[in-house]
Symmetry: C2
Subunit: 188 residues, 2 copies
DNA sequence: TTACAAAACTAACGATTGTTAGTTGAAATT
DNA sequence: AATTTCAACTAACAATCGTTAGTTTTGTAA
């Protein structure tokens, strides 16, 4: 599908946001990257804030939906974690700029959008925490503090976007296998 | 030791930078947080950029020094990784604002400072990579791609600052033990 | 060819940015 | 008591910010 002009603007902005952060990118920067004047952007979008919230909500919804789907499946906790790792890799490959902005610039959202995204992240983490706790309860996962496990895995997954370029020729499925192995079975 | 006025400014700025990012914090914001006017800041510092570079170089040096010290010790690769995890936790506990700024705003450094910090990070990563490769070579570490291992561990350690507040009453030494266990031996 | 809509333009606005200059009062030193 | 240093102040600067209004160009359909 050919992207609309609005989608083009958002994509170009995403790339700049990833590079320098939302606050350091001006509307004139975005316009220049598209070879038009800043005022022309307003024929397609309502303002800078709309770019930010569109960008973030798109990927935040993707994570939330996939995660709650996994929660409902009938799998062992370890299988669910495996799936969480895989969907993170899938989404990162397709939305790496959006993830950068979600991670680094969510606090610049305003009004309801801010509340909504914070809520989605909390729900996401709570779902993940439940899976881990269940795994510990039934002995599949070592009796470490669930918070340490949650944080260790989630940190790696959330910052995968930083590493996505260097990934280079590495196949996505190989990456999935390796990350599942490292994160679940360790390195020793 | 009582901090100098300059150190106070840098600390207050660090806290604001952690919260909203370097570009979203104005000199007037910093001044207001100190109950003085923006122009008064210039009696103590040369500009906003000096705050940033002081903040970042301080913690970047700490990491670089500790890492190269570990490289020289006579330990097994796994023992060295254990030490790397521990020094990350130690530095994070003491410099959590600096780490936030290093992670998120290093690209706003200018001139030599930028080059220097990028170089330090590359050296750091290269040292870490060497330890991992040696561990794989002598069979202590599973034959995964070293890059995946490096990235997984480093992502967790680098974003530990985000989680430091929630850590709450958890003892630092317990945290060290747990993280070493999770990162090296896995969770299953 | 004309009519219309889409998407660009110029020009400007009020606000905010980092920073400088010059001044003032208080504290420390001579 | 006189002097110097420190650290705050007011006022202002040029530049840049997001955004608006009004106009012109471009492409498409009748």
């Amino acid at each position: 599908m050919k992207p609309t002009r609005k989608q083009e603007i958002i994509q170009v902005a995403a790339s700049l946001f990833k590079e320098k952060g939302y606050s350091a990118v001006s509307m004139r920067d975005i316009a220049q990257a598209m070879d038009i004047k800043a005022a022309s952007l307003y024929n397609h979008i309502s303002g800078k804030q709309e770019i930010l919230s569109t960008l973030i909500l798109e990927v935040a919804k993707a994570f939330t939906n996939k995660m709650s789907a996994i929660t409902l499946e009938t799998l062992t906790p370890l299988q669910k974690i495996e799936k969480v790792i895989e969907i993170h890799i899938d989404i990162t490959v397709n939305y790496s700029e959006n993830i950068a902005t979600l991670n680094n610039d969510w606090m610049h959202l305003e009004g309801d959008d801010l509340e909504r995204v914070v809520k989605m992240r909390e729900d996401y983490e709570e779902n993940f925490r439940s899976i881990i706790k269940q795994g510990v309860a039934q002995g599949d996962i070592k009796p470490q503090h669930p918070e340490v496990i949650l944080f260790s895995i989630l940190s790696t997954l959330r910052t995968l976007y930083l590493w996505n370029e260097k990934r280079g020729k590495m196949d996505v499925n190989v990456l999935k296998k390796d990350m599942v192995s490292v994160l679940i079975k360790g390195i020793a």
